[in-house]
């Protein structure tokens, strides 16, 4: 059965964050006028934080994950800030030890009497928001394919890599279907690479989350993204259910016209393969 491989230090899995950093990502998003680029950078930093925490055993980090962030806009390439800048695949132990900086944030923790109290905690930042240029999606998927061509031969028995792609608009360098199909035809012995796509919109149009077919999709662009989105394996569907999203069997890892809540949930669901040793 695919997507059942245990994730361990000898058989790690891989997450690739593929992020649209085009000029339109500077537009406002949802309530409060936060920019899309700011919101996405914040969610990705939180997601990396959670991945690190999941691998923490005492003061040690177990390298269960390899992580890549690829940005595309005015340029295409690795999007880590700070000392990981320019790095493509980074073991989670290095991600943990090398954030670009540690900010301070307020966090609510239990006060012991049934309430919550605010506490200042250290919050690591690995990537900063960027929004410039066009949407060279084909070039970006090409870089993901190259990364996978390097990673897969060394990890034949691993849980397959998960590519989490976020965009707010159509490709400006051609139809990405071909290269994306090449990506989802790659595999480990545990199954094909997972490619999940989240399209976000500043307009308050109706969002479509994790559809099982194309019937409700409004246009060709939505259908293109649907066709290059892989079905959600069982563990990911359980993760969706845990946060109150019910998905049908065969539901694709695809969101169209997503709002800020969709984006946060997309990264939460997409980084929840089971079977961590």
């Amino acid at each position: 059965m695919p997507y059942t491989a245990e994730i361990s230090r000898s058989n790690p899995t891989c997450f690739i964050f593929l992020l649209d950093q085009s000029g339109s990502m500077s537009e406002g998003f949802g309530e409060g006028g936060i920019r899309k680029a700011d919101f996405v950078a914040d969610v990705v930093n939180r997601t990396l934080h959670d991945l690190v925490i999941r691998c923490t055993r005492m003061e040690e980090i177990r390298n269960y994950y390899h992580i890549s962030i690829i940005g595309y806009g005015a340029s295409v390439g690795p999007a880590f800030s700070g000392s990981l800048s320019g790095r493509a695949h980074v073991p989670v132990g290095e991600v943990a030890d090398l954030p670009a900086r540690l900010d301070s944030r307020a966090k609510k923790v239990p006060d012991g009497a049934g309430g919550l109290v605010e506490q200042q905690v250290r919050f690591p930042v690995w990537m900063d928001p960027t929004s410039n240029g066009g949407t060279p999606m084909c070039d970006a998927f090409g870089q993901v394919r190259s990364l996978l061509e390097q990673w897969l031969p060394e990890h034949r028995n691993s849980f397959p890599p998960t590519v989490l792609h976020l965009t707010d608009g159509e490709s400006t360098d051609g139809d990405p279907s071909g290269v994306a199909q090449q990506i989802i035809s790659m595999s480990t012995n545990d199954g094909p690479v997972l490619l999940f796509n989240c399209h976000v919109s500043s307009r308050h149009t109706m969002k479509i989350e994790y559809p099982g077919d194309e019937s409700r999709l409004p246009d060709d662009f939505a259908r293109t993204l649907f066709r290059i989105s892989t079905p959600l394996p069982e563990a990911f569907r359980r993760a969706a259910s845990d946060i109150g999203l019910s998905t049908a069997e065969g539901a694709r890892g695809f969101v169209f016209n997503g709002d800020p809540v969709s984006v946060a949930q997309f990264f939460e669901i997409g980084t929840r393969p089971a079977n961590l040793r």
């Binding site: 690190v52 925490i53 003061e59 943990a96 012991g112």
Partner: protein, 250 residues
């Protein structure tokens, strides 16, 4: 026969998940034959320092002569949790360890004590989470707690926290039970994966359970390791730490 004349014999095994070192095993067992107390605990893998927490809980509970009621648990955990967390505050931790330490350690726990009287031997048990006690009489399970069905494992059970802020209401989560002991009764304390296997196999494949009993009787550690490896390989047993502590009453 007086309760104090009954003899208790014990066998126990502890194994880490496949692929991990014995030093990474987060299950723990402890016993005191003098006090007739036996327990196992299962430190939560995703929490901070849970291996040490499971060891502390079992060691202190087995050495104690009380902690058999709901009311006793909260103050006991507060003291023991404070003891554990003081160790952490003496160190400068990296941000990720600090974050984990803030939530504290968690463990499932089950403890069994025998209390002799003039005429009989009574057992008392306390349990929180998905570590289990099974009592077998003449080959039949007569008690299984706090979980009695193999399908009931795999959810998120309440666990014993080290963090004082999370202790509120913990007494309500403690299962307390007691009963009579008959000669030749067997009591098995098990952590979750092997407990689920044990309950399922008793119903579906009792020969496997008898084989486990033979290995425990013989204290056959290599045999037990091969047995667990085989059950994991054919997916009957989830790859998790394994703690088994069996007490036979004669």
């Amino acid at each position: 026969m007086k309760g104090s004349d009954w003899h208790l014999s014990v066998a126990q095994f502890l194994l880490p998940k496949a692929g991990l070192l014995a030093s990474e095993c987060e299950d723990a067992t402890a016993l005191s034959l003098r006090q007739r107390r036996f327990c196992v605990a299962d430190g939560a893998t995703e929490a901070y320092d849970s291996r040490r927490w499971a060891k502390l809980l079992t060691r202190y509970w087995a050495a104690s002569n009380h902690l058999l009621t709901k009311d006793e648990f909260e103050p006991w955990l507060a003291r023991l949790g404070n003891h554990l967390e003081r160790r952490w505050s003496r160190k400068t931790l990296p941000w990720y360890a600090e974050e984990k330490a803030r939530s504290g350690a968690f463990a499932a726990f089950v403890g069994l004590a025998f209390i002799p009287s003039e005429e009989r031997l009574v057992w008392q048990a306390v349990a929180v989470g998905d570590s289990c006690l099974v009592q077998i009489r003449e080959g039949v399970i007569v008690t299984a707690l706090p979980i009695s069905e193999p399908e009931a494992f795999g959810y998120h059970p309440a666990l014993l926290p080290s963090n004082r802020q999370r202790l509120r209401g913990i007494g309500e989560q403690v299962t307390v039970a007691s009963g009579d002991t008959a000669q030749h009764d067997t009591f098995v304390l098990l952590t979750d994966a092997i407990a689920a296997w044990y309950l399922r196999s008793t119903a579906e494949n009792p020969l496997r359970v008898q084989e486990l009993a033979r290995l425990l009787d013989a204290r056959d550690t290599p045999g037990f390791e091969s047995f667990v490896e085989r059950e994991r390989a054919d997916k009957s047993l989830r790859n998790d730490d394994v703690a088994v502590l069996r007490i036979t009453v004669d």
